[in-house]
């Protein structure tokens, strides 16, 4: 195969590869943005925006929020416990007839 013959094969092949990459693995215009180049979604997933695939990040934020609430509750419980104990001591002081 001479140089001209090789080019005749390589050029169309390159064009096909680029086309596939930019349009999403062969799905021309099927779902722009879900291809493997420049995509912000998950590669190879038709339902890139489904809860199943985004859950990990969402769960992490939710769990952090829960933990913060519980930390606040714990601090308030500790302070309430201190006050309750102090009240017991005051009431038991017994210095008043």
């Amino acid at each position: 195969m001479n140089r001209r013959s090789r080019l005749a094969v390589i050029v169309p092949a390159l064009a096909l590869v680029i086309s596939l990459a930019l349009t999403g693995c062969g799905k021309l215009d099927a779902r722009p943005g879900t291809g493997s180049i420049g995509s912000t979604g998950f590669v190879g997933t038709q339902g890139a925006s489904s809860p199943t695939t985004t859950a990990p990040a969402d769960d992490s934020a939710a769990i952090d929020g829960i933990a913060q609430d519980l930390d606040s509750a714990g601090a308030a419980n500790t302070e309430a416990g201190s006050n309750s104990a102090a009240g017991d001591q005051a009431g038991a002081a017994g210095d008043e007839p």
Binding site: D58, A62, I66, A67, D69, A73, A76, S82, S84, A90
Partner: protein, 237 residues
């Protein structure tokens, strides 16, 4: 008389965490020395009166400062407590001067007795302030945070049922039940405690017992609910 106007007495002496620090001093009453009697000499009664009023003035002054600095008491309860504390402080200062100037043992004895029966700085004032501070801390902060956490956990389980294992569901249910119990037990608790007066205590020395028991039970519920929540979070991570 202003005694009756003020809800409780020296409540203040403390407040929050502060209350805690003041408590030990309250318990160490021996500095009052041997209690005088109606038959004691004028000087003996004056000496005991000076010690008793000085001790209370110190506790009240410390308590007022702590109440002013606390964020646990609600604004309304803080106002009530400060009103009581300042009135008690003024009363103690007045009695301190009066007892020192008394010229008869009979009058001094009456004034000395007034330190206790008309004010009840420790048995009522401080005690009710601690209870109110604890109750407000649970009502205004701990319980709302527990309710918020439970709601978020429920939403998480609803979004992904696979996370809602039987064990975690049971913990969430217990968390919600304990929180609900705490809500019930703290309902009106601070107001109830702050409504107790020295005269009520004179008639019934156990007048604060129910409120005291309620705040302890509510605190136990709140702690248990928080533990449930922590266990759930640990399992989800």
């Amino acid at each position: 008389m202003f005694r009756f106007i003020t809800v409780a007495a020296a409540a203040g002496a403390l407040t929050l965490g502060s209350l805690v620090c003041a408590a030990p001093a309250l318990a160490s009453v021996p500095s009052d020395g041997t209690p005088p009697t109606a038959h004691s000499s004028l000087s003996a009664i004056q000496q005991a009166g000076a010690a008793a009023t000085a001790k209370r003035i110190s506790s009240l002054t410390t308590g007022i400062g702590k109440v002013n600095a606390t964020t646990t008491l609600s604004a309304a309860d803080k106002s009530t407590v400060l009103g009581t504390l300042n009135a008690d402080l003024s009363g103690m200062q007045t009695l301190q001067s009066k007892i020192a100037a008394d010229t008869s043992a009979t009058t001094a004895w009456t004034d000395y007795r007034s330190i206790f029966t008309d004010y009840r700085v420790y048995a009522v004032g401080l005690h009710q302030s601690y209870i109110a501070a604890a109750a407000d801390g649970l009502t205004d902060t701990a319980i709302p945070k527990l309710q918020s956490a439970a709601a978020k956990i429920s939403a998480l389980f609803a979004a992904d049922p696979s996370k809602a294992t039987p064990d975690l569901q049971a913990k969430l249910a217990d968390m919600q039940a304990k929180t609900a119990d705490a809500v019930t037990k703290t309902s009106g608790l601070a107001a109830s405690a702050l409504a107790v007066t020295p005269s009520a205590y004179n008639a019934n020395h156990a007048v604060l017992s129910d409120d005291r028991a309620a705040v302890r039970a509510a605190l136990a519920d709140s702690k248990a609910a928080a533990q449930d929540g922590q266990a759930i979070v640990a399992a989800l991570k």
